[in-house]
């Protein structure tokens, strides 16, 4: 029993680290799956697993609110939209068997490497966690407070960005051939023709 209790204290001391590795062990294969799976829709579903893993990481960092938001918005909302878009573009849902073009491989590798280096350096250079608030289970209040005071400007910019996206989506969904003058003339002519034809039919 003595050994067991020692083990328990040891485990609880490094609990967070163990859990981090556990989550990583689950999430990283999902991430590779997203990249390597030839079946694009299955890759989309694997993305849900990746986002779920990230939200588990947030939970480990005591950021409950962020974890829930991550799960709700990224893991479900956005990924589902992505998956549906994929289903609509590839109705037969077969595996993509077209061979990759060698000419694209080198630039892709270059861009990927550069991106990785940039991210790595950014992560190293930033002084993470220096000015963080005290960890508390009630950090929703802190999030709300800092969003509307210290980070008010980025927050508003994000809202405007979303608004622009929304308006853009509405514009895309509308029929844009009503915009140009020539199109409108064409349509008017067509309607005239049709109405004439209809009159003719009525007369007959």
């Amino acid at each position: 029993m003595g050994d067991l209790s020692e083990l328990a204290t040891l485990a609880s001391k490094h609990m967070e680290t163990w859990l981090f590795y556990l989550v990583a062990l689950i999430t990283v294969p999902f991430a590779f799956g997203v990249l390597l799976d030839r079946n694009i829709i299955r890759a989309g579903f694997l993305l849900i697993g990746v986002f779920g893993g990230i939200s588990a990481l947030f939970l480990l960092l005591q950021a409950q609110f962020l974890a829930m938001a991550q799960l709700m918005i990224y893991a479900v909302g956005i990924t589902l939209v992505v998956v549906i878009a994929l289903m609509l573009t590839n109705p037969r849902m077969e595996e993509d068997k077209s061979p990759s073009i060698p000419a694209q491989k080198a630039p892709a590798a270059l861009v990927g490497t550069l991106l990785f280096i940039a991210l790595y350096m950014a992560i190293l250079s930033e002084g993470w966690g220096n000015n963080s608030e005290a960890l508390s289970p009630d950090n929703i209040t802190i999030i709300g407070y800092s969003l509307l005071t210290h980070y008010a400007l980025p927050f508003e910019f994000a809202s405007i960005l979303l608004l622009i996206a929304l308006v853009g989506a509405v514009m895309l969904a509308k029929h844009d051939h009503f915009n140009s003058k020539a199109d409108i003339d064409e349509i008017e002519e067509e309607t005239k023709e049709i109405s004439e034809r209809n009159e003719h039919v009525v007369k007959v």
Binding site: M1, V81, V83, D138, I140
Partner: protein
């Protein structure tokens, strides 16, 4: 429809209530016994066996932490069995039929027989389907409803010691996040079935869930604004009425404007309002109550769509899509889908009860409250104490649980009534209603409540 010509159907109604009573007794007896055993009895036995051992203490605590999970795990299958039966018998009442009445005494065991049958049926994998995803889909559909229900346990048992740990500060947000996951299971199952009907069902489900989640979440967030908390226990306890007029019984519920009306009545009775204030204050109180009733309506509508109940059951519209996303499912995987569907209905009703109908609070002060239940519980506890066992229950928890269950099942029966009445939407009407009516309405209400709250 002449009222004089209607002979009363007390026989069938009586049978329905008897059935409900027996099944609810079974469900909550089992859940209560399981929670008591895991949360109190086993830890106590361990501590008695190894006194003064820190390791035994750890083990006992670990077992105690499992109580909420065990409670939910025991609850879900039995509850789903009862709800299927209640739905069939209730619908039979509404459609002037008798419903299942052959298996067991008067059909009490019909769903138990169905469950056993489903468990023994063959699992068939569709040709050309993605077997892994096909198997995973029911699990993804079902698991969130288990974990999502857990924080609500704390709310409905008046924050009992055993369930305190599941009371997250982000309570209601957690429930919402969890309840949004099942859609993934539906889309996944629909896609992995390699069947056109399933795929269309899955796609419809995704479109519907994404559209109706927005008004649903907005309705809940607005109520959280009003209350000033995301914590389910906090929200439930704030609505607890007293016998003062300032927070009288059911008038204190969020459904009636989060205490605006009794507060106004109290001020009026004490003569603190003068002149035009009497009218304006009454107007704003009533406006807030009206907004809250609308919010509750939006939530119930959105929830109906989220869990694919009739009139929003387009993902499994049997007249168009055979059975929608679960066309290809059979055996235990189908049973899991079925189980989760009814559990989701229960969870959604519980959320509504916690958010708007006062959680475990009595509607009338003094009516079947903690004292009444304490007087029932005392003899049991004394008998157990004499046998050296931990107490079985306390009045506070019993009263909370009783009223929460009562209100939840009242909402479930309302859902059954709606199912018996309304026809199914068409998919374009459904999206139109969601995006063009409910979302603007909930946004307007969000604004209105924020302002009116200051004016009351």
């Amino acid at each position: 429809m002449t009222s004089s010509a209607v002979p009363y159907n007390l026989n069938e109604i009586g049978k329905f209530f008897l059935l409900s009573g027996v099944w609810l007794g079974i469900i909550f007896g089992a859940v209560w016994a399981a929670c008591w055993a895991v949360g109190m009895l086993v830890p106590q036995l361990i501590l008695n066996a190894y006194p003064n051992d820190p390791c035994a203490l750890n083990v006992a605590n670990a077992i105690r932490l499992l109580t909420p999970l065990v409670g939910v795990m025991v609850f879900i299958p039995i509850n789903a069995m009862y709800m299927v039966l209640a739905e069939r018998r209730g619908l039979a009442l509404f459609t002037v039929r008798k419903g299942p009445n052959r298996v067991g005494p008067d059909g009490f065991l019909q769903t138990a027989a169905d469950a056993v049958k489903l468990l023994f049926k063959e699992n068939i994998n569709p040709h050309g389907g993605d077997v892994l995803m096909f198997t995973l889909a029911p699990i993804i559909f079902f698991a969130p409803s288990v974990f999502g229900a857990i924080p609500l346990l704390a709310a409905v048992t008046s924050n009992h010691d055993l369930f305190k740990i599941v009371n997250l500060p982000t309570g209601i947000f957690y429930v919402l996040a969890m309840s949004s996951i099942p859609v993934v299971g539906i889309v996944m199952g629909g896609w992995a079935s390699n069947n056109k009907y399933s795929l269309v069902g899955g796609l419809r489900s995704a479109a519907q869930a994404i559209s109706y989640e927005i008004p649903l979440v907005l309705a809940i967030i607005t109520t959280c604004f009003l209350v000033g908390s995301l914590d389910v226990v906090n929200i439930a306890q704030m609505q607890k009425g007293t016998d003062n007029l300032a927070s009288f019984g059911f008038l204190n519920w969020n459904f009636f404007g989060a205490g605006a009306i009794p507060h106004y009545l109290d001020l009026l009775m004490q003569g603190k309002l003068e002149g035009a204030q009497v009218v304006t204050s009454a107007f704003w109180s009533l406006a807030l109550a009206f907004c809250c009733i609308l919010l509750c309506g939006i939530y119930l509508t959105g929830a109906c769509a989220e869990i694919n109940r009739i009139p929003f059951d387009l993902p499994e519209a049997e007249s168009e899509l055979v059975s929608g996303y679960n066309t290809e499912y059979s055996g235990i995987r189908f049973a899991i889908f079925f189980l989760a569907e009814f559990t989701n209905l229960f969870i959604v009703s519980t959320v509504a009860v916690v958010m708007w109908f006062g959680g475990g609070a009595t509607p009338f002060p003094g009516f079947l409250d903690a004292n009444t239940f304490a007087s029932i519980a005392t003899p049991f506890n004394q008998a157990l104490a004499q046998a050296g066992l931990p107490p079985l229950m306390d009045g506070q928890t019993m009263s909370g649980a009783f009223w929460a269950i009562f209100k939840t099942y009242a909402l479930v029966y309302f859902a059954i009534l709606v199912r018996g009445t309304l026809p199914r939407f068409r998919i374009d009407q459904l999206l139109d209603f969601g995006w063009k009516k409910l979302i603007p309405l909930s946004l307007i209400l969000l604004l209105a409540v924020t302002y009116i709250r200051e004016l009351v």
